[in-house]
Chain length 610, copies 2
């Protein structure tokens, strides 16, 4: 009976939805616009998607028994990706799935939950019209009702206000951005179904552009997606883009338009996923490195690649989204994150909103692994950042069989009594993404098939020897073959390992120099947060084995996923986060590595393994 | 030797100009862009254009001996409109001609001079580029140089900044509006000759639109002009315009565009007069009644003519001038004055900036005589305003031979041993303006040719009897004949007197009700300020005789000319005036006269003379 349906009641939302029997709780919630804060994409590997069954809890699976205690299981807790619904069910979605990601990392230092208090709000009002005795201007009626005497209108708002008030019988919804009145709509348009207040966050990376859609009133993350940055055709790294943009002014405009079009595509897809109109987006937040943000805003970047490496502007910029070319509500605003320096940008500030280093009382490190790697060290309120050009290997670019972290990308490799691979969506393997590259190299190292210099040792494991083949410029190792179910033969090449060594060497060397500046040894590091848009969950053991982090203890490492995207989302959900971002950006010192001989030395050593 | 020239040195400007011998000082200063704050248009009747000759003072004329004391004459003081230059001359232009008009009325209560401190400023800077040691973003270089850490940029500004800085060798001029960076220009563009910072004030009246151009750095008023409000084709009064605008939305847009085009014409003429580009205007301030301001901004006015008579918005609005359709610098701002109520608008707030009633320690009255008359009574900090629909008679409309106060308009009439008229520019009489109408009726009353009810007594003065003639709807009296040098026969008709009676009756009745609310008798009024855009100087005796003011003593009356235009100019010249306008607008109480039986009663009585 595949068509048999049951009724799912979702709390605290009080939503009732019909669901097909045997659907997972995760998919059923997704259909109601609730995306759970997991990291593994529903693979049962991160244990983050826990929800509570108040009625109709299914039998726990083996995976659930691994991640949940017997007490939790008997209290009805299950993993949404594992639990399949069998009967009419009541699920309570815990707060961690409806608050900013921050709280996951901040509850160490901050008690209590963060409720959404977005800067953009829709407020429904039933007003009493003015009388001769209470002779208020139309706009002053709103001020009185909102108890905000300092409320300010847009010019366009005033043109619309009198008609909407009178035609609706003084029953209308205003859209506020802080104390600015952006728009007014007749009746109550605050209901989330297709209406309500929505916001999108964008992580504008050199290689990858990622976007997320939030329902602002409830704080729910509703959809996520990503694209290759189309500027990549003008070079993989920021310097190539800067050079292209500086050749003539139409080039700057061309690559600005490229990225704007791509973000508009992302917004369109997010809205389709959530079933809302693109005009419902009232707020966009964007975090990117300094070059990417400048190019997005059409601001020349000529000063960045030459000494003294200065940007035009470092603060956050809050402007109408339409001025930046984005397709959203006509009154929508975009906030572009403040930068720390020319090569430590708004994405790092967004990362820090999630990692919360400034509140840590012991030395803590945050590494954002991307085409441009950023590293921030914090110790009792002092924060220092630096950057290292890692290249796009972590994002699956410049790798022979590299691909973005999409369906079919190998994201995990195990060599232990044979070779096992895992692909995203468990689809036939089509290539290898950043996290898969790390996992593969870690597995090869563990098996002794790569030496400390990064060279393949083709005969170290007998049953693997047949997977090596020689090419014109060196050996390659087959991760998946067509005859094993892959969509094509997929190899990791000696050159891929070299690319990786350059990337991780740059990041590890920069980390060491930063620790040297603070006089801090690896043992003193309390927590290491790894952020990145390179795909999936990285196992702490792999990060340690490949030498991405300067410590040996897994428990000190926390993977925070695409923290730039999540941090940008926090500004959507909490008005105070925008001010926090501005303060953080000014507070973090920048350490310039250019021309430091100790960096070159550390770099050469950090490229090695073990 | 008509071509003989002399050299005029103007202090404190330190300008040197060649001038033809026998030119008046007024005309010579005009050519250097200095308009003196006179009220009589260079007629030698107001005594306000006094300047000081440091060298080359001509012999004083009889008029100068009348207005200036012997001490002043011996100190070199002369009236600029009287003094004709004969030799190389040094003139010192006193501060009263370079500060806001306010100071003329405020020096009773405030000591010291008001220097211009405009909200819009041009600042020239030579910057030191950033270095590796002092690695500042381009915009932070400006912040540092201006010592304004809270300086904020426009998005467009950031696109332009890096190129201008580098191409100019870091020698540039920024345009600031408060703490907002509007624009940057290479080199030093602060020099006043065609460059520098300029602002225009607009008095947007129901009948007349007047404009003035100021050089913001020096506070000099450089040019003034005016136009008939083109919306007049849709009715003389605000209610007709509101009805027209409410018929369909394209009507609102049509009459918005009409007034915007007219203001753009005025700005164009002002700039031609001053010899500057229209793009040099960085700041526009506009004061009008509530309806006119709404229509200018395209905001519907439907709520204004029906109870409870509410506007959409009462605060001041500061927006890009381009958004309001004005042609000026692309980054220019316009400030639209705050209103007190639906029928006491921003023009009254601008009047009050000039009259300074709120600082007076004795009961004082301000009357703005226009198509809509506004009256404000102030007593020890308490301020109350009301309005009365006077109709356009004061502005020369709905009068048989009425015209705006332009060249050829009769602006003064004396009947004493015959009839004497004076015209603006001493040109052949072409019609009669508002101040001429008041002067004519006053003269006719004085001569006993009009009775208390306003009726002509055609036989009271024998030598005038021939000037009366009968028309279909009553008598008319010839003020000027073609055979007397006028460009046509010009009459004042019995109906013109009726129009005037309705107008002055409405204002006088509203004044009485306001005094009744305060419990103040006419004898207690310390000062009465009369403002108006109706043409020229009104003699206090005439204002008393026609019953426009409730007092009999000339010395209590001060004519403050087009105070709405001057008040709007003050906001151009002093940043604090904008805040003062906002505070004043909120502070003044509004007294609603609609439906008050005591107003109807007072109105009927106030229409009479004597």
């Amino acid at each position: 009976m595949p068509d048999e349906t049951l009724t799912l009641r979702i709390l605290p939302n009080e939503t009732w939805v019909p669901v097909q029997v045997k659907t997972t709780a995760r998919d059923a919630l997704l259909k109601s616009g609730i995306v759970l804060h997991d990291y593994c994409g529903g693979e049962g590997r991160c244990g983050k998607c826990r929800i509570q069954f108040l009625e109709g809890a299914p039998e726990p699976t083996a995976t659930e028994r691994e991640f949940l205690t017997p007490e939790e299981l008997s209290d009805g807790y299950r993993l949404a990706c594992q639990a399949r619904l069998k009967q009419d069910t009541v699920i309570f979605v815990p707060d961690e799935h409806r608050r900013p990601l921050t709280s996951v990392y901040m509850h160490d230092v901050k008690d209590g939950l963060l409720q959404p208090e977005p800067e953009v709000r829709k407020v429904h009002m039933r007003l009493s019209p003015a009388t001769l005795e209470h002779q208020l201007a139309d706009f002053d009626l709103l001020r009185e009702a909102l108890k905000t005497p300092t409320l300010q209108p847009e010019h366009e708002f005033l043109k619309k206000l009198p008609h909407v008030l009178r035609s609706s019988g003084y029953d209308a919804t205003v859209i506020l951005f802080g104390e600015d009145c952006l728009d007014i709509e007749a009746g109550d348009t605050t209901h989330p179904a297709g209406l309500g207040a929505w916001g999108a966050s964008i992580d504008l990376g050199t290689t990858t552009i990622a976007g997320a859609l939030y329902h602002l009133d409830t704080g729910c993350l509703v959809a996520r997606t990503g694209r290759l940055n189309p500027q990549t055709v003008h070079g993989a790294d920021v310097v190539s883009r800067i050079l292209y943009a500086s050749l003539k002014s139409s080039n700057l405009e061309e690559i600005r338009q490229m990225v704007v079009d791509c973000i508009n595509d992302i917004l369109s897809e997010l809205c389709k996923l959530a079933g809302i109109e693109q005009e419902s987006i009232l707020h966009v937040t964007l975090a990117g490195n300094t070059t990417m943000e400048h190019l997005f805003l059409g601001i020349p970047t000529d000063g960045l690649p030459v000494a003294p490496y200065v940007p035009v502007f470092k603060d956050g910029l809050l402007i109408p989204a339409a001025d930046a070319g984005l397709k959203a509500h006509p009154c929508a605003r975009i906030y572009v994150f403040p930068a720390i320096g020319g090569f430590v940008g708004g994405d790092t500030v967004a990362d820090l909103l999630v990692a919360g280093l400034e509140a840590a009382d012991k030395p803590s490190l945050m590494i954002d692994v991307g085409t441009n790697g950023e590293i921030v060290l914090g110790d009792r309120g002092k924060l220092m950042a630096t950057s290292a050009a890692a290249g796009p290997a972590f994002e699956g670019r410049n790798i022979q069989y590299g691909m973005r972290a999409e369906r079919g990308a190998i994201d995990r490799v195990v060599i232990e009594k044979g070779l096992t691979i895992h692909t995203i969506g468990e689809a036939p393997a089509a290539g290898i993404c950043g996290s898969g590259l790390i996992s593969a190299i870690s597995a090869l190292l563990k098996a002794g098939m790569i030496d400390g210099s990064g060279r393949f040792i083709t005969d170290s494991v007998e049953e693997m020897a047949g997977r090596f083949s020689r090419t014109e410029d060196g050996f390659q190792f087959m991760l998946a073959g067509k005859n094993e179910g892959a969509s094509r033969d997929i190899y990791i090449h000696q050159n891929d390992i070299r690319q990786f060594q350059l990337a991780k060497g740059a990041i590890a060397a920069a980390t060491l120099i930063l620790m040297k500046e603070f006089g801090i040894a690896a043992e003193q590091l309390d927590k290491i947060y790894i952020a990145g848009a390179f795909g999936n969950f990285i196992a702490p053991t792999d990060a340690i084995r490949v030498g991405l982090v300067p410590v040996n203890e897994e428990k000190r490492i926390t993977f925070i996923g695409n923290a730039a995207l999540a941090g940008a989302g926090e500004v959507l959900l909490r008005a105070d986060m925008r001010r926090r971002a501005e303060t953080l950006a000014r507070r973090v010192e920048f350490l310039e590595l250019a021309g430091r001989p100790d960096f070159q030395d550390a770099f050469v050593r950090a490229m090695l393994f073990g």
